[in-house]
């Protein structure tokens, strides 16, 4: 089921009413069943895969906790990792590996087909719930948390529909206690949830879905028909589309959970206002960045995970060694690969590793500058390069990535325009609106929040958003992150 649909809104109202009416245990059963129904609306048979993932890690975690011997604990952890990652590899990467291996063999003159033609449908959200279930088992292995005693509680956490398909990537330690505690109904939950859902739907159906055709048409043009300015514009425009789309999903997910009194961490914080590549990853898909740091980057650098500190990958101390950089690049390559089975995603990851590295090397030279000057110049330099990073994320061929990047350094390609004037205008206005929205949220909102003007603005903005959501609400497209 997708959020931008009437079916979902009716489903949500029903779930929220039931949730607040039922006693604790019945709530958990209801959440699990309804979440499976939510997932089953896409492909019912794949709910079995989801249940399998829950059963596997619920019991493996218990076994790990029971055992004292390190080797035995590790064996169970490996069992969980092999099965979880094995399933992910089968559904997401098998065709990619097969195709690549066959191309390598073909380049040596062998016309071999390792496997017959495969048609595998990627289970929606598999990358997200696999990460969540892995983190649970690893946390139990590291003795950061005790295993959950009740299977229904664990199942509720894993399949909880707001985060099931595209995150935020939750940790059992943050959510399970909230399920276990008896929650008291409060209208504040409903108000906050309602607002987040309306804003999320606004971002998705009004902004992202209407930017999408411009992006699709632009990227459908051959590279030769695009000027360098077009490439930058498309990079920005796709950057806005994916931000609105994904941020919308997170808003709606957080809003749905709030309706039930459950709190998720924020997943976005004006990422395009980041003053450096490092700061960007503290503002973009925050839950994934933290997951990658705790379960991939730190183990690769050989450092101990500290759950108390929320550091960005690039902030980890003593990481300026060769091992540190190797870990950084390997982490980003894997992060890219997690997004999709295509070399272009690996390039996207490595591109960001490069930006972070350049920032590490250059930032000490600007330390003497006034903070405001440093921040503004940092933003002006970082934003275009962060946006350019969306090119390998959006195009599907490595050769096209090369053509696009080459064009941006060809000065002759800056002398003409290849798209309609509206595209540049919309891109510029969107950027302007993001900046205004950031300034209002950061500097004006806290001052007027509890005043009459604040209340009035709130009602006006919400009313216009409601009207536009009614007009534009259509399941015309899925959320972009569903494919990951």
């Amino acid at each position: 089921m997708i959020f931008n649909s009437i079916t979902f809104l009716i489903f949500l109202v029903l779930v929220v009413i039931l949730y607040w009416r039922l006693p604790r245990l019945a709530r958990l059963w209801m959440i699990s069943i309804m979440s499976l129904v939510f997932y089953g609306f896409w492909k019912p048979q794949y709910t079995l895969l989801l249940i399998f993932a829950a059963v596997l890690d619920f019991f493996v975690a218990r076994e790990i906790d029971k055992r004292q011997e390190k080797r035995s604990r590790r064996n169970f952890l490996i069992l969980s990792l092999v099965l979880n990652i094995g399933i992910l590899v089968y559904f997401k990467y098998l065709i990619f590996f097969k195709d690549n291996l066959e191309s390598v063999l073909n380049s040596f003159g062998s016309n071999t087909h390792i496997l017959p033609h495969l048609k595998i449908i990627l289970p929606i959200g598999i990358s997200f719930y696999t990460f969540e279930t892995i983190s649970y088992t690893v946390d139990v292995y590291r003795r950061h948390i005790k295993p959950e005693k009740s299977f229904i509680s664990y199942l509720s956490f894993l399949v909880y529909f707001p985060h099931l398909i595209a995150g935020p990537v939750l940790r059992a330690a943050d959510i399970l206690p909230q399920f276990d505690n008896r929650r008291i109904f409060n209208w504040t939950h409903i108000i906050e949830g309602f607002k987040r859902i309306v804003y999320g739907l606004f971002l998705k159906v009004v902004l992202a879905d209407n930017i999408s055709p411009l992006v699709d048409q632009g990227f459908a043009l051959h590279a030769s028909a695009l000027s360098a300015i077009d490439i930058w514009t498309l990079a920005f425009l796709f950057g806005f589309q994916i931000y609105f789309d994904f941020c919308a999903y997170s808003h709606i997910a957080i809003g749905c959970a709030r309706l039930m009194g459950i709190e998720f961490f924020e997943n976005f914080n004006f990422p395009y206002m980041a003053v450096s590549p490092k700061a960007f990853w503290k503002r973009w898909h925050i839950s994934l960045s933290n997951w990658i740091k705790d379960y991939l980057y730190l183990p690769l650098t050989g450092k101990k995970v500290s759950y108390d500190k929320q550091e960005a990958i690039s902030e980890i101390k003593n990481s300026n060694s060769i091992k540190g950089y190797a870990a950084l690049f390997a982490t980003w390559a894997l992060m890219g690969f997690w997004h999709g089975a295509n070399w272009t995603f690996v390039v996207w990851g490595l591109y960001h590793a490069l930006l972070v590295t350049i920032h590490r090397f250059t930032s000490p030279y600007f330390k003497g500058l006034n903070k405001k000057v440093r921040d503004i110049s940092g933003w002006c330099i970082s934003l275009p390069f962060l946006m350019l990073g969306w090119i390998p994320f959006r195009v599907t061929q490595l050769s096209t990535v090369g053509e696009y990047f080459k064009k941006t350094i060809n000065w002759h390609a800056y002398t003409w325009l290849g798209m309609r004037e509206n595209v540049y205008l919309i891109t510029f206005i969107t950027l302007l609106l993001i900046i205004i929205s950031y300034l209002l949220t950061t500097y004006v909102k806290p001052r007027i929040e509890n005043t009459f003007i604040g209340q009035l603005s709130n009602v006006v903005i919400l009313s216009i958003s409601v009207a536009l959501v009614i007009v534009f609400l259509r399941p015309i497209s899925q959320f972009i992150y569903f494919q990951f």
Partner: protein, 375 residues
């Protein structure tokens, strides 16, 4: 009613006000089909015995062909173009457009014409439309205007994403392989970028599609606003467009520059159209469409003259008739339309003329058909 007044202020009031805004906005809706033409110009799509003889949606082709068959499958010409064909400036009840004029005239010859026109169409769409319609009925002769404006347009409209047409494009790939944008779309098994065929594309072939379509239908049947949503969206976009024009001072006579990438793709589509007609021995009349000559056109004149010269040259090279009808329609048949920006008054309509202009152009095409002796 509510335990806390904040519930009313934060939930109930915004919902009520939001719906109220929509009711208010709904009062001033214009039909989506006429929005692109501007007030002062109306769409006119003729039909005979309830079967269309002029369509703007290729999905109506079957109904048009059924009418043609019912009338005795007479030799038929296809006339394609943009909204100039269906837009009648200062339209009055009972007036007709060029397609109907030519249709009536051809009755004497026991022949007929069928029309297909697409607002803001581009040459790539015209090529696709020709391929599709040629596949649907035996075209006797083909009439195609080549508009400079259309060379700035791009993209294929959702109505053209027909499986049958996609199949034909794949079969006749030699007419599309050298148009990168179409080639890349076809490789994604679609004729439109992004494969967004309809409002339900995001849940296509899932269990949710049925429930969503059912709920959507129920809402359409019971709530006027829901039913009018496509028109509300169209009007909202039109208002944004007007706001842009007002802010940037854009008027009907503002110079529009050529867009190199689009021009290349569209011009290639035109050349492929010439080749298609030659390969299929399809008699063809190309014309440079009428243009207002009392005011300077909204084009860069050097670019426009180069375009014209290129079209005439390529038609000559391919032995195709190319009529230059730039000066065919006199000043009195052109008109004005409601301004395209807020508070902008009226503006010159450069594209659409009054019924008199439609008659003139139909007469010219009729005479050319006669001279060429297509029969």
């Amino acid at each position: 009613m509510f335990k806390s007044p904040t519930v009313f202020v934060n939930i109930v009031l915004p919902i009520l006000l939001g719906i109220g805004l929509l009711y208010f906005y709904q009062q001033r809706l214009r039909s989506a089909a006429d929005l692109g033409l501007g007030e002062g110009t109306s769409s006119y799509f003729p039909s005979v015995n309830n079967s269309p003889i002029h369509i703007t949606d290729p999905q109506l082709t079957d109904s048009m062909v059924a009418g043609w068959k019912a009338r005795g499958s007479r030799p038929v010409y296809l006339w394609q173009g943009n909204s100039q064909l269906h837009g009648v400036n200062q339209y009055k009840a009972g007036q007709v457009n060029c397609i109907e004029f030519l249709f009536n005239k051809l009755n004497d010859r026991h022949e007929e014409v069928l029309g297909a026109s697409y607002p803001n169409g581009n040459m790539q769409e015209f090529l696709l439309s020709l391929l599709y319609l040629h596949h649907k009925f035996p075209i006797w002769g083909f009439i195609q205007p080549v508009f400079y404006d259309d060379m700035r347009e791009d993209g294929i409209r959702a109505e053209m994403n027909i499986p049958d047409l996609l199949k034909k494009v794949k079969e006749d790939s030699l007419y599309f392989n050298n148009i990168p944008s179409i080639k890349s779309m076809v490789s994604n098994d679609s004729l439109i970028a992004g494969v967004k065929a309809d409002n339900f594309s995001g849940i296509h072939a899932t269990a949710q599609e049925q429930s969503e379509r059912w709920l959507d239908k129920q809402l359409e049947n019971t709530w006027g606003i829901w039913k009018n949503r496509p028109d509300i969206r169209g009007n909202l976009f039109n208002d944004v467009y007007k706001l842009r024009n007002m802010a940037l001072g854009i008027k009907a006579n503002t110079i529009r520059k050529m867009i190199p990438g689009r021009y290349a793709d569209n011009y290639q589509a035109f050349l492929n159209m010439l080749k298609f007609c030659k390969d299929h021995q399809l008699p063809l009349i190309i014309y440079i469409p009428p243009l207002r000559n009392d005011v300077s056109p909204p084009y860069n004149l050097t670019e426009y003259n180069n375009f014209k010269a290129q079209v005439i040259h390529d038609c000559e090279t391919s032995n195709v008739i190319c009529l230059n009808l730039e000066n065919l329609v006199p000043v009195q048949y052109w008109g004005v339309k409601q301004g395209t920006s807020f508070g902008g008054g009226t503006e010159i309509d450069f594209m659409h003329f009054q019924q008199g202009g439609h008659q003139l152009i139909a007469d010219t095409i009729y005479q050319t058909i006669g001279k060429l002796g297509f029969k």
